[in-house]
């Protein structure tokens, strides 16, 4: 029964991890961008929500109405002004170096503005409410909500990519940017739009991280690693894979935690290494995938 509980808690934790990974997965899927600042952008969103909730006393989930548009604008501007230039040059080096530099800048900007103290977003009673299934298993309302939101966002993105004109343009550009530009797709604008959408999911992830746990300026790297592991475990270039990867990572961590709390994070890394070794394309790889 303990293990059943661990499994359920792991799946719920996986919801948060999938949410963390969505933006990274989307940016890679559309523009082959490996964004090393991804984790720090999540933490930045959490701090933005903190500023908004402190100023207006509104519920952190309501603050999304401000934080999501802000992050979308930031995403568009970052991509248009900085990342498109880095992607234009050949090789994997420039985008990695620019996003790495960006990560350092964001992290130290937050450190300068908010100090190294841990912060949290308070969302009221929802944080502790739970649904009791039996005397050993209870499901937290907040983790359940996180999982539902993660699934909803991934379903929404999948529908957008497969059904809308914007999604079609994204798929075309991901397959061949030059051919897409011949048929009239401005890839600079498209990339910036994709980044805006990616950072909208990052904003949601940041608020859920802030409500579920505490955060400090230096926590970005852990966010990046978790998101990255979820993406790789699930399979590159597949949004469903990201959900599966997040859940698999959450379950592995919950099982590790069941053995000893010290092993929680390590168990996640070991699952990641095992997937790399035995199934390097991930659990749900798209049939035609191009790494790099």
């Amino acid at each position: 029964m303990e293990w059943v509980n661990a499994l359920i808690q792991g799946i719920l934790l996986g919801g948060l991890y999938a949410l963390l990974a969505t933006g990274l997965s989307l940016a890679f899927g559309v523009m082959r961008l490996v964004n090393l600042a991804h984790g720090d952008l999540i933490i930045l969103a959490a701090y933005l929500a903190l500023v908004v909730t402190n100023a207006t006393k509104m519920n952190p989930f309501l603050s999304l109405t401000v934080v999501v548009p802000l992050m979308m604008v930031l995403g568009y501007v970052l991509q248009r002004g900085l990342l498109n230039r880095a992607l234009r040059s050949t090789g994997v080096m420039p985008p990695l170096m620019v996003t790495f530099g960006l990560a350092i800048v964001i992290q130290n900007l937050l450190l300068e503005a908010f100090s190294a103290d841990s912060q949290g977003l308070t969302a009221g009673p929802i944080e502790t409410e739970s649904i009791t299934l039996n005397d050993q298993i209870s499901i937290g309302v907040l983790p359940l909500l996180t999982l539902i939101v993660a699934v909803a966002i991934l379903v929404g993105l999948e529908l957008m990519i497969s059904r809308t004109a914007l999604g079609r343009a994204m798929r075309a550009t991901a397959d061949d940017p030059e051919a897409a530009s011949i048929v009239g797709i401005d890839h600079r604008h498209l990339y910036a739009t994709a980044m805006a959408i990616a950072l909208a999911t990052v904003a949601v992830a940041g608020v859920f991280v802030g409500v579920s746990t505490t955060f400090s300026p230096s926590d970005g790297s852990q966010g990046l690693i978790v998101a990255f592991e979820a993406v790789i475990i699930g399979g590159l270039g597949s949004l469903w894979g990201t959900l599966v990867g997040g859940v698999a990572l959450g379950v592995a961590q919950a099982f590790g935690n069941q053995i000893s709390p010290a092993y929680q994070i390590l168990a996640g890394h070991l699952l990641f290494l095992a997937v790399l070794f035995f199934r390097p394309t991930g659990l749900l790889a798209r049939r035609t995938q191009r790494q790099v």
Binding site: F100, I104, I265, F272
Partner: protein, 355 residues
């Protein structure tokens, strides 16, 4: 400086000359500088020696990152794995096994070479940007394993006591000489690699992986060799760093900050050039000494400089310099030199043909 006469039909008809006048001058000046610096423990203040230890070990780390990223196209942000292993290897060899520090460094270098081969099994499944984060995860695994090992002090770390028999002055002098060895050694190692078959293969791979493969270069094997060399280099430099610091903590020894420093130094100085990290390390130390009072602001400046250099001057500061004043101080500048004009000698094929 090396020239290899090519014997076709038994007669030497051309050389490949690698050295230039500037590279010979640089070698002589480097030797004189090394000889001069080696006498420092006899007359220099300990503060200067400590600063130089830091500079030289960081230079060695940056050269290893340069070798990985600039020559083999392997962008790693997980080199701290090997720095940490070097630090803990030094602790285990000196404190637990009672080895002399020099023997300890040889032993830990061999051990890390084996570990690096093992990590390649995982890391080399990933490519490009994901390789970078993958190496970071591997470093995190080592950090977590060490943080859980009570034998080496677990999360709170440990202090190296096994060097106490040397006494403080002799320890500082030995550490300093070792730092000189790794600092100058890293430059010599890269220069040597670039003139070897491995360097030739690396340059071919850098220009075109498919092209190199079609000419018989085993691309994966070449990259793995570089991966192991860079891992051992980082481990030895890490051991020397912690011979100086003595106090080891897993979060610091396996911290991603090490990789951040290497990346800044190489990117700012110039990637894929041996001179680059030397310039970068000088700039890094100058920035650090002038801006360190500003705390996190100084790191922000470093981040912005790295972004600006990547976008505006991707060849780095040394690249900008070379664009105006073409010069090769270290490394290879191979060119063909005909010995005698004769009937139907080999046509001047590739500049870099050696065999």
């Amino acid at each position: 400086m090396t020239s290899q006469p090519s014997t076709r039909d038994g007669a030497a008809r051309f050389h490949v000359k690698q050295g230039t006048r500037a590279s010979r001058a640089a070698a002589v000046i480097g030797m004189l500088l090394l000889a001069g610096l080696a006498t420092l423990p006899a007359w220099g203040p300990p503060g200067t020696m400590k600063l130089l230890i830091e500079f030289l070990t960081l230079l060695a780390l940056a050269q290893m990152w340069n070798l990985l990223a600039g020559y083999a196209g392997l962008i790693s942000i997980g080199q701290q794995a090997f720095i940490g292993l070097g630090a803990y290897g030094l602790f285990i060899c000196t404190d637990r096994l009672g080895f002399h520090p020099l023997l300890a460094i040889v032993v830990l270098a061999l051990a890390v070479a084996v570990v690096a081969l093992g990590t390649a099994l995982f890391a080399f499944r990933l490519r490009g940007g994901y390789f970078a984060i993958g190496t970071w995860v591997i470093a995190e695994v080592f950090r977590l394993l060490v943080s859980g090992a009570k034998e080496v002090g677990a999360g709170s770390g440990t202090t190296i006591l096994g060097l106490g028999f040397l006494g403080p002055q002799a320890r500082l002098a030995l550490t300093y000489w070792l730092a000189l060895a790794v600092g100058f050694g890293s430059i010599a190692l890269l220069a040597w690699i670039m003139r070897s078959r491995l360097g030739l293969a690396l340059r071919a791979v850098r220009d075109s992986e498919e092209g190199a493969q079609s000419l018989g270069v085993d691309v994966l094997r070449t990259k793995k060799i570089v991966w192991v060399i860079a891992a051992v280099g980082c481990a030895v430099a890490g051991a020397v760093i912690y011979m100086n610091l003595l106090r080891i903590q897993p979060t610091a020894a396996f911290g991603v900050e090490w990789s951040a420093r290497m990346i800044f130094i190489v990117v700012i100085g110039g990637l894929g050039r041996i001179e680059g990290p030397i310039v970068g390390a000088l700039v890094y130390f100058a920035l650090r000494e002038t801006l360190s009072d500003f705390g996190s602001l100084y790191l922000m400046v470093l981040g912005l400089v790295a972004i600006a250099v990547t976008l505006l001057a991707p060849q780095g500061l040394w690249g900008l310099f070379v664009a105006r004043f073409p010069v090769t101080l270290f490394g290879a500048h191979p060119r063909l030199e005909m010995l005698a004009a004769d009937d139907g000698g080999p046509p001047a094929t590739s500049q870099e043909e050696k065999r």
